[in-house]
Structures are given as C-alpha cells and as structure tokens.
Amino acid sequence: MTLKQEYVAFLKDIVGPERVSTEYIDRVFYSKDLSMDPTELPGAVVLPKTVDEIIKIVKFANKNKIPIYVRGRGSGLFGFKVKEDSIVLVLSGMNKILNIDKKHLTVTTETGAVWLAVNSMLWKQGYELTAQWHGGAISSTLGGAVMANTVARTSEDGTAFGETVVSLEVVLPNSQVIRTGSAANPKSIPFERYTLGPDLAGLFIGSAGSFGILTKVSLKIRRKQDVTEYLSFRFRDYYDAINAVIEIEQRNLIQFGIILIGDFSDDTVCALRIVLTGDFNNIMYKKKLTESICISHNGEPDNPEYVKNFWETYYYSWLRGRDTRQYYIWASEPYFCPEVYGYFPFEQLPKIYDVILDEWNHNPDIKKYKGILKGVDTFITPNGGFVWFDPLFPKLDPEAVEFGLQFRNRMFDIFMELGGCPSTMSSATSKLILSKTGYTYEFMKLLKKTIDPNNILNPGVLFPEEL
C-alpha cells in the first residue's frame, strides 16, 4: 500500500513533488539493502535535501505515528528491511563536503557523502580520512558507516569507524537537533569528541538509526602518508600467523592487515596481506621489522602485488590474486552472500577458523544447496581481529536462499558462543545477537522507549517492533 494521498501531499509540500515517490519500482528498490532477507514495501520514498526538511518530516511522522526508515546507498549486506506503509528517507542526496579544517584535522560533511568522494577531495589537498575505507562498498555513505559502525581498513588509528568520529549532528525522534562533543557549544567548532558531559556520539554510533537521524558528521583526518609499501606471507599454522600479528600490533607497524583463510592449493592454511604507510624516514624500518616478525613466525613470503593491486584499485578480489571481473563471474549462476561477522580477541581466532571450516566441510546441506566459500577474512585490529565469513548460495533458488539465511543466523549464534562480537546490527540479525547481552539489551530498549516513545525511527531494526 502506498501512503494516504493526504500524507503524500504533505510530504510533497515539504520537499517538493519531484523528491517524493510512491512508484512501485521505487518502493521495491528502497525496501532493502543488498541482502536477500524478506521485507515489506514502504508507503513512500522521500529524498530530503536539508535538515529543516528532515525536522518537518519527523514532526509529521510523529504526529501520525508513521514509521521512518533512514537509508544511505543501501550497499550493506546486513539485512535492512522496512515495514509496510512506512516512509523511507534516502539521505544520499545530502552529500556536501562542508568544511575541511586542516588546523584541527577534521572534515565535516553531510551524512550522505560517500566515503571515497570525501577522501578524493582530501587527497587533492594532501590529507585523508584516518579511517581508510570502511566495511561497505566504495559508494557507501559516511552516515551509513557511522550508523553501522563499519570496519575501516586502518589498523594504526583503530579499526571501528566510530573511533574516527569527532562530532555528530542528529535530528532526534522529537525533531530537536543536537550536536555532540565540542560542537554542542554553539560558540565552538567540532574538534573534540570527549567533552561537555557524556560521549553522546557513542550513543548513535552503531545504533542503526534507532535513536536519531544523522545529518552531519565530523571525522578525523590526517596528512596523506608519503609512501606505501606492501607485504604478503603464507602460513602453515594459524597460531604462527596470529602470533606474528600480535607482535606487529604491539609495535603499531601497519596501516592495514588482513588474514585470508581457505582456497589454497598447497598446505598453506592462511595468508597475511599487509599495507604499510609512512614517510621516507620510517617506512623501510617498518617494512623490515614487519618482514622479520613474519619470517620469525614461519611466514613464507608471497606475492605483494596482490595487496598493491587491491589497495590501489579498491578491488577486494585482488587479495586472492583474482581480477575483479573474473572474481564475480566465476560461478555459472548468480550467488548471494549471507555474511557473518564479528570482532574476536586474538586467542579465539584459530578456534573460530576451525569451527567455520568444520561446519563448511561437514554440513551436508552446504553441498545440497551448492554453497561456495567466498572467503573467511580477518581484518587485523589493534586488539584482535574482525572476522568476515562470506558463504555464497544461489540467488535464484528460493530454498537455497532460505537455507543461506538460516545458516547465517546459526553462525551468528556460534560466533557469540565463541566470544565473538558482531558490530553492525540489522533488522535481520540484531535481536538474535543483542538478546544474548541480557540487561545490556534491556537498557538499550529503555533508552529507545525514552527517546522515541512512538517508536517511529527504524522500528524493528535494533529492537523488536513492539518495545
């Protein structure tokens, strides 16, 4: 069902007729992200351009108790879904870069700005985001990165995207606008996150839009590094690889590191791909030391070109030495990826690898539904690893889709059992994951009830539809 005509007319009054759609094809498109989780169709899709428009829409939605779902580029694999008769607010059109502050090393953008677009502009001026890349596709928005608290390809400055946030501007469910950190002082600027009381930015980071609509984001930037070097190693034992990683992290040597599991032809069990950045004075020191550490833990040098190609082209498939186009047409039919992910402390990494591979090799349904193991990868973080488990199942076979989604949920259970901590939450998985945190989840629900009593913002995403 589309929204009532009078509601649609009201929305058109707010943003203009060209930025409201009730067309079936738009309602289908904006009802989900890239996952295959079932969803309902929203009643209307709206493209606001200003904070003022968002405030008016929130007031209107509150008054009429219409759910609002907030969306950027929809490039996640997490399972975004909406309720029928809701409004989907697409913020990707709010993509201006508002200020690059080189003194205080921050960049402030509208929420729909795309990560690489902002980084490209910064590069032209000799700077870059401290969070290089983040979990989603190139064109995922910074608002999406904050709300999903994605995983950056950065180890030196912390891996969770939220760690790079300096300040946020948020429209609350009661339509008030707040700013966090130093920017909360109307006489100040966004330069310090942890000031003026509690860290309110932390409430919104990773909240999947449940507590407010993010409209502006200020992030840390740094001078662009002079030199980039690449290393690659193979290991015959997980523990060797992890011990090497722990030593590397203790010395804070690398920009980015990833452990790849699976699909090796020889007795290699994992590969470690490393990107190092620095200036002319320290880069060779970092490289030599990293190399020595890996070799001392029985690492065998591998082709660093794969890492270079990946880092320069952004094509993930290069990490496994495959050209991207080849990577995505390797199978005879289209596949979807019910991704499972989570942070793990170092000592749990070998266990989770064993469990994943054991499950993959011995579950008879995997073969039955023609599952393909795309990869088990671990982004190295300063204090552990962020594990991605990417199985693939045929997209056009409804039974395989259903199995794939159930399999994902079961694997999330296993991840939690083994001490894993999934970060990004979605309608499809958040209740399953967060309910295991007991009173912590109850406290989150209490916050939601207090901040959003009508439950209009992203209902059913982080919390059940009925609180």
């Binding site: 759609s21 094809i25 738009d26 890239l34 596709a137 064109s139 289209p334």
Partner: protein, 388 residues
C-alpha cells in the same frame, strides 16, 4: 513471445550478477560527483542503472504489480546511452546492451512511448534523417559542390545528421581542413542516418537497415577510408553494427581528430595563437568510453602554443555526458544534464569549451546559454580550421 522479451530472458543470469557496488553511478574517485547523468539529475535509483536492473528483474519474474505505466516507461527511456555505468561495472555486466533491450521491450509493450521518440523514429523512416528535414537543403552549407559524389576519392567524409542539418559549422570546418591538407575526399549526397537512434532504443533490425544502406553506398565508390565528425555515427558503424550483425565494417573508420593528428605529426607541425587562450575539453561519451579516444584530442591541443588546457574534474573515462541520447529519449532531463556539464566547464574558468561531437556541441551550447555564460563552445576542428 516478442523479440525483446526473448532477448531480456537471456539476461536472467546476468542481471542477478549485479553486486550493488554502485560503481555504475558514483564518480567518487573524483569527489562528490555522480557518473550516471540521469541519476545525478533525478535522484531516484529507478532512473539509474541499479533501478533499471531491478525493472528487468521484475519483468523477468513476471511481477504483476509492475505496471508499464507512464512513469515506469519514462524511467525506462531516461537513459543517455553514455556508457558510464558499463565502463565501471565491477561485475562487467553489458549494461548498455541490457538497457537498450529494455527500451525495445517498452517500445513493444508500453502504451506510453514518449512522443519525442515516436516522432524521431517516424522522421527517420520518412526522411532518412533525425531532424526530418528535406533533402533539398541538405547541402546549403557546402560552397564547393564538386566534392560531392566523387567516385575516385580515397576518403568518404560521412557527415551525419546533426552535423549536416544542425551543426553545419563543423562540417564546413572539416571540408576546409580536408582541402587545406589536400585530401582526396568526397561526401556522398545520398548518405542517410547511421541508424543510431534505433540502436539506442534496442531496435537492431531497423538500426542495421540504415547502416547497411550506407555501407552499400560506400561500396559504390573506390574509397578505403570513411571519416567521421560524429563519434556516435562512427561507433554505430564499427561497434554497434558489428555487434548486431557479427559483420565487420568493411572500411577503415577514422575520426577527423585522428586524421588531423596524423597529418600534423607526420609533418611535425606545431601551431600557435598570438594571445594566450585557456580551454577545457569535454570527452564525448562515444569518442571516449565508446571508441577509447582520450589521448588524441589532448595530443592535438598540446600542438598549439599559447593554449592552456584546464581539465574538468570529470574527464576522460569519467567524463559526464552532455545529455546525448536524451535529446529524443527525454528532452526535459537532457536540458538539466547539459546545464550541469556546462556549469562544470564554466567553473574551470576557461575561455573556450571544446568538444569533438556535433551532438555535444548542440547540447552544451544550450546549456551554456541557459547559464548566461560567455564561455565559447567550439568543436576542436573549428579551432584547427582557424589555425591551419
């Protein structure tokens, strides 16, 4: 089952390979820019490549809720055929071909075909040119009629509808350059449209009919080379025709810029302006992404002393379309697209806005005039005609 439906079915496995990376519409390597011109102007994904993919998926799934009504038909035809999406598709999908087939499906099934398309197709069928103008005035711009229909010529200059009937200053400049460089060339008085408007809406049967008729005319001469001023025509002959018929275009195809560049290079000629001039260059979609001719225009411009080239943010393979096929597919959106490209050129601060395609010239002049800028829109050939 009609032809287009069968063709769409061939895309079943292909369309689902889209991984949703958005490379088809973003131009994030450059900054906060979009690549797909229609998405840039309209904002909803249903106007962009991912939305069009979804439309194909829903058609293939026989979704009864999907009605081929006026608004959906408008979305299907709102494609500039610029090839940006395909150039950057991470999964390597043949998006241009898919979207052309989708348009053909709409032509066969929708009751809401835009008037601009129907009338353009009628004009082509009745008058052999996209403007529907009469043959009598076809060569009013040509002073020396002796260059017409010379059987002994080595080169045929295929003028193309837009140059022939609208951007005649380009044709004049080319004839002048060919004479100055002592080329043994001719223009065929009975040349017809290359067929591009049909190819661009997926009607390969009608498109190839036009191309074949032209090839037949070419074969009646002794020429070995066909020279083009319109990259759209050139791409139609050597890419679209070959793809549709699996037959090679039986002549050497050359864009006029390649011809000039060869001439100057062989003779080591450098040209110069008396006063410094700044220019920006717009890569036409069909010349750049279509024919991969990015370096030759720049090499040519580097041969002019006192000319400073200022690149627009979106250049070469990331060039932003001028509106192209929207001239017939959706003129309203075209105006907005042309304006955005014109603004990007104006923002460089250059005095001259160069391109190498008559359709781009037509659209960008309109865009510049709408913005009331005094930047001068010119085809590169006009510049060289002045200097040679």
């Amino acid at each position: 089952m009609v032809q287009s439906e069968a063709q769409l079915k061939e895309y079943l496995n292909i369309v689902y390979r889209c991984i949703g990376c958005n490379f088809c519409l973003e131009n994030s390597w450059v900054g906060p820019y979009h690549g797909c011109p229609i998405f840039d102007v309209m904002g909803f994904e249903s106007y962009g490549p991912r939305g069009r993919n979804l439309i194909i998926k829903r058609i293939l799934a026989n979704d009864e809720k999907l009605k081929l009504d006026k608004k959906l038909t408008e979305r299907i035809f709102s494609c500039a055929d610029c090839g940006y999406c395909e150039e950057f598709c991470m999964a390597g999908l043949p998006l241009v071909e898919m979207f052309r087939t989708l348009m053909n499906y709409a032509l066969e099934h929708s009751e809401y075909i835009p008037n601009s398309i129907e009338s353009a197709h009628k004009r082509l069928v009745n008058k052999d040119n996209i403007f529907g103008l009469s043959e009598e005035k076809k060569f009013d711009w040509l002073e020396d009629k002796s260059v017409l229909d010379r059987k002994d010529a080595e080169i045929i200059y295929f003028v193309g509808c837009t140059t022939l009937y609208n951007q005649t200053q380009i044709a004049k400049a080319i004839v002048s350059i060919l004479k100055k460089t002592h080329a043994n060339f001719t223009i065929l008085s009975n040349e017809k449209c290359c067929g591009y408007p049909f190819y661009a809406t997926g009607d390969l049967k009608k498109g190839t009919k036009f191309t074949k008729e032209n090839i037949k005319l070419f074969k009646q001469t002794n020429a070995k080379i066909v020279l083009f001023s319109c990259p759209g025509c050139m791409k139609t002959f050597i890419r679209d025709y070959e793809k549709a018929t699996k037959e090679h275009f039986p002549f050497k195809a050359m864009h006029i810029l390649e011809y000039i560049n060869n001439y100057l290079k062989e003779r080591r000629i450098f040209l110069h302006f008396d006063r410094p001039l700044s220019a920006t260059y717009h890569d036409p979609c069909h010349l750049g992404r279509g024919l991969k001719l990015y370096d030759i225009p720049r090499e040519l411009l580097s041969r002019i002393e006192n000319l400073r080239l200022i690149e627009m943010p979106r250049a070469r393979d990331k060039s932003f379309c001028c509106g192209g096929a929207l001239t017939t597919n959706n003129p309203k959106i075209k105006e907005k697209v042309s304006e955005r490209r014109a603004k990007e050129a104006i923002d460089t601060g250059a005095q001259v806005f160069l391109q190498a395609c008559p359709t781009c010239a037509l659209n960008l002049k309109k865009g510049v005039s709408k913005l009331k800028s005094d930047i001068v829109v010119k085809d590169i050939v006009e510049l060289f005609d002045e200097l040679l």
